[in-house]
Symmetry: C2
């Protein structure tokens, strides 16, 4: 169904009709000039992210349900990165003419799946049109007790540096998808070109001879063969690489880690989520905390599929783990006194420690060499 | 300066370096995964708006400072429409390559002017790139005491219907700008075409004869004349229509009206801001409040310039006032007992009253005819 059939209010009604706020702090959601929230006992966390088609996502290989899920998760992830609990979300979409009502419903399905997973209420937004492509802007609101909030600036000398999960897989997933896209489209375009050429030759031939003479007949069968090749064109085989795709297409916010740390009685001294790559985020924490750090290459958590894919693409897997973005894992520091406790927390890896600022941000390689860490993370404006 | 020179973090630093939060509720602004707010004594209002180049604004005649100002104001307006006080704002921009650092600084200049006017802190956002055009997404956060918040659903039978300021001027301003744009570009393109033709004739002539012979000399002087006409091309004369332009390009949120109502001891029963046109907004209030209304054409506040422009464009000025969008005036209802008090509030006009739902939404024309109001407001998705 075309979106114009419903209009703005019709579409919003359809997308939000069975949204019922679950949180006590959501007093009023969709339907007025503003949503109304109530946070008398805790502090309010606010984060926002904008995702543009062609820059942040490619709909050639991203389905809209995954995109909705990821758009919500990357915002929820920022609330967890403050040691908070996500509660509400506003969702703004600018939609070009090529999208249907069903497309946007699919996007909302993914969005709501992510929100349901973490108990987040969709409380409003804006739905409008765009000249080209899809633009998504989400603002997520959460809460935390004042004493629980973890900023980026709290890391202290001797603190331990930890990350959750593993690194570089989302980046490898992106490389894989881009490669397959190029291969697939390379073959597709090649076949289309050959069909066009054969069709032109056929048209030329039948202009001077009967369609039943040998040349047109030969060209006709050639065209049929190429068309059949086109329709048989193999869709990419991703077997053995499912984890990489999942990490790229279906990011997960690590609320489970936040909960585990809480249960273990550990309060990180600094924390952020890894969206631009470990190096870049480490530098934010070090800069804002006025400290240095020492990270060990051999401790970087890397999945087997990430390593295999890096090898296949002739890339350095450590570089991928340090600078590949979109992991949405948590990077945090804990006091050295928590060493024994943090070792017990499943899914967390100790990768180094905080030093005095004058020692800089150092990576110690497997063979004991030391390098200054550089932020080569993804720059959306370069 | 090209934006890529600074990169995302460099640009954000530059835009936000001298932003100092002014509100006690802003505990932490730009610079972490989330902003941190504190609202122990009041309820939190959240609104968001997305503005897309080519859909919501045209940079042919909108300068970026005005655009920044308006982008902030339309969000601030939604907080006032709940009878609240705006406090914080997140600002997300997606910027295509044609914009420079100076362009974005200009946008921020306007943004900050609007924020300073109403004491709003910019607490974060996202800055990224877009393939085409500029996309703006703003979320504004405000506060209100629970008992002060005015929803759309509180209008009751016999309540008085009021609007602030005057209606239709922003829409007339847009019509004026679009007309002048077409005239100017019509002349511009015509002259460019004639210059190209003369240039071609000149090139052709000098291929066979000396540049000093009569034909090339004539063509040369023709080209010079056309070029001088091009550079003299009159920029549009807007004298006598300044108010229309101001209303279109430089929207103002009516916090002054909210304050005046408070001082007069009047609490509206329902309120919203007029962004899509009076008819459309009246229907929201009536639908959500379960009431009807009776509006009088002769009471609609219309500025002299609006009326003149409508006449010039051969449009019905009442239709413009009812359905032209972007006025950002306040539409509200007050109990009939406030009649004497509301009459004393400067800048507010009584335009009708609320009825039982079964009477529908009625416009009474100057000659006493009655029509059912229809929402013909601007539909961004049609």
């Amino acid at each position: 169904m075309e979106i114009a059939t419903l209009g703005e209010f019709g579409l919003i009604d359809r997308l939000t009709k069975d949204i019922t706020p679950q949180n006590a702090s959501t007093l009023r959601g969709v339907g007025d000039d503003c949503a109304v929230l109530d946070y008398p006992q805790s502090q309010v966390l606010v984060t926002t992210d904008m995702l543009m088609e062609g820059v942040h996502f490619d709909l050639t290989y991203t389905n809209l349900k995954h995109l909705g899920y990821k758009s919500a998760m990357v915002n929820i992830s920022d609330i967890f990165a403050m040691n908070g609990t996500p509660r509400q979300m506003t969702v703004s979409l600018a939609i070009s003419k090529r999208f249907t009502v069903e497309d946007i419903e699919l996007f909302y399905e993914g969005l709501r799946l992510a929100c349901q997973k973490w108990g987040v209420d969709i409380i409003g937004g804006d739905t409008t049109s765009s000249y080209t492509g899809l633009a998504i802007s989400i603002t997520c609101i959460g809460e935390a007790q004042k004493e629980d909030i973890v900023y980026r600036n709290g890391a202290r000398n001797t603190d331990l540096v930890c990350v959750s999960g593993d690194l570089g897989a989302a980046y490898m997933g992106l490389q894989l998808l881009e490669r397959e896209k190029n291969v697939y489209y390379g073959q597709y375009n090649d076949l289309r070109k050959r069909i066009d050429e054969a069709q032109k030759a056929y048209d030329k031939a039948v202009a001077t001879q009967s369609p039943n003479s040998p040349t047109p007949q030969l060209l006709k069968s050639q065209i049929a063969k190429l068309k059949s090749q086109l329709s048989d064109l193999a869709t990419p085989d991703f077997s053995g690489k499912e984890y990489l795709l999942q990490r790229q297409l279906q990011a997960e916010a690590r609320g489970d880690i936040v909960e585990k740390l809480r249960q273990a009685g550990i309060r990180p001294t600094a924390m952020m989520d890894i969206s631009d790559g470990l190096s870049s985020e480490l530098m934010h924490i070090c800069k804002q905390s006025g400290v240095g750090c020492r990270i060990f290459e051999k401790e970087l958590p890397i999945d087997y599929q990430t390593a295999v894919m890096a090898e296949e693409l002739n890339m350095n897997v450590t570089t991928c783990a340090l600078n590949g973005g979109e992991d949405y894992e948590l990077l945090f520091t804990v006091p050295i006194g928590d060493l024994e406790r943090i070792k017990e927390v499943e899914g967390v890896r100790l990768i180094g420690h905080i030093t005095e600022q004058r020692f800089g941000q150092v990576l110690v390689t497997r063979d004991g060499q030391e390098f200054e860490l550089k932020a080569q993370g993804w720059n959306p404006l370069s």
